[in-house]
Amino acid sequence: MSVSKLPGTKLSSKEMYSLPGLVESAPQAKYDFSAGPTISRFLQGLKEGKILGRKCPRCGRVYVPPRDYCEYCHVALTNWVEVPDTGTVHTAVVSYISVRRERLEKPEVIGVIRLDVPGYPPNGYEFAGLFHRLCVPPEEAMSDEVIGMKVRARWKPKEQRTGSILDIECFEPVR
């Protein structure tokens, strides 16, 4: 562009925090999210140690996590189906930082697990699956073998389950 000096006044961190007229504001934005009937039922299932999917009466797709509507038939999903808690690793990564971007002493392995739910073409674009932790050592998670590895859900003991995604501790390899 034919302009030599662009508008904008850059500040270093020190300069910014020493400006007169800085205003601070700690927002209070609190909510009570309702999980809605579908996800509530899904969480209920987790509490009972089951992964529940929802089946479309018209096209037969089983959705995990469950939905209210089938995206293709735009029909309300009706029947619930318990799906296997086994699957294969779609992708896996190793995190060295926390949600607040602080350094973690012990790295966390997380990924997407493609569940063994019938009705999806093997390497098709879509599948039923969950985003969750993987109980796999970091080195193994970085190796090529982890992609496609067979895994199974490791459930927390019944009395520790509260109806949350954390009722599954992680997905561990099926040796």
């Binding site: 562009m1 302009v3 850059k10 990564v93 930082i97 607040r100 674009y125 985003f131």
Partner: protein, 394 residues
Amino acid sequence: MGMVTNLFVKDRVAIVGAGITTFMRRALETPRELAWEAARMALDQAGLTLKDVDCVVIGSAPDTFDGVHLKGEYLADGSGAIRKPMTRVYVGGGTGVFVPVSAWWHVASGLCETVLAVGEEKMSPAHPHPQYVFRYIWDPIIHRPLEPNLIWIFAMEMRRYMAKCGAKKEDIALVSVKNKRNALDNPAAQVAANITVDDVLKSETLVWPVQELDISPVTDGAAALVITSENVARQVTDSPVWIEGVGFTLDNQHWENRELAFPRYLNYAARMAYRMAGIERPWKEIDVAEPYDPFDYKELHHIEGLMLARPCEAWKLLKEGYFNRDGELPTSPSGGLLGVGNPIAAAGVMKVAELFWQLRYEAGKRQVKRPVHRAVANAWGDLMQAGTVIVLGN
């Protein structure tokens, strides 16, 4: 997509001016002042004043960065919308390219003749760190309890691309090297640098395979375009840049249920835009492109989504210099988000502004070597689900 070329759109729509602020980690200006600085420059470049503007379209991503709720209203007067029709549009990170896309139907519908399209983002107000805001993009009930960091989702997508396409980290790092080098010639650039692949591979590993130099920075900045009908364009400039195709698609929010190696939503958006522009072989007909590059691997991912290369081929062509400024199909000549900076909504507008200058041969030292007639830019957003595409021509 059931959408044939708009043969009956009698009047074409043109970009006649572009303006941009420097991209900065911390700006003194308030968000509305940043919007004013960019929009005023765009109007000056087009030789117009605020009185000539009929409508305003504002793009700004999450309110939780600038820390102002109803941010469209907060940016209104800065974007020139005093006593004017104004709406804010929003597709997460895809907003930047979506702003000129939405401005297109403001003009093509006949509702407006001259539209000021403004993208702004000020991320520095959020403390402790703007990235913390991304804690709230996840599904609040089945994802947030896992305490995910934003970078997790990019790392998972990058890993899937590497696994599916056989691309190594050192192949992908070449994008960061290319874009940061291109940015050395961009006066707006925040993080231009001459780096090597080794520098990328030695930078701090955040969420393997993503390392520090694989990521675009947090940025404050604004960019604006003046978009008009054909007859206004003819009066204002003898080198209008036509908006020949627009496309946008949003997939559902269940990113954990789809193949992350290929952005199907972006491909649908690209087909919509190409169909409108009458383009059948984009890998041949597009001369210069600005694919969205918040992460280095994503430029490759989007090059394939935009059908500028076959799936899993982009990283091989990159190695041969195919996408360099003097290459066969230059990508991100601006320096991209990796080099210029990533003020989210303004980043997409910056990319369209770059193609505006390229197609008028006004990009100075950044001007690509080969002749240019058709260009494409895309933005991407949300949970691996939003694709916005615009096709320009001179």
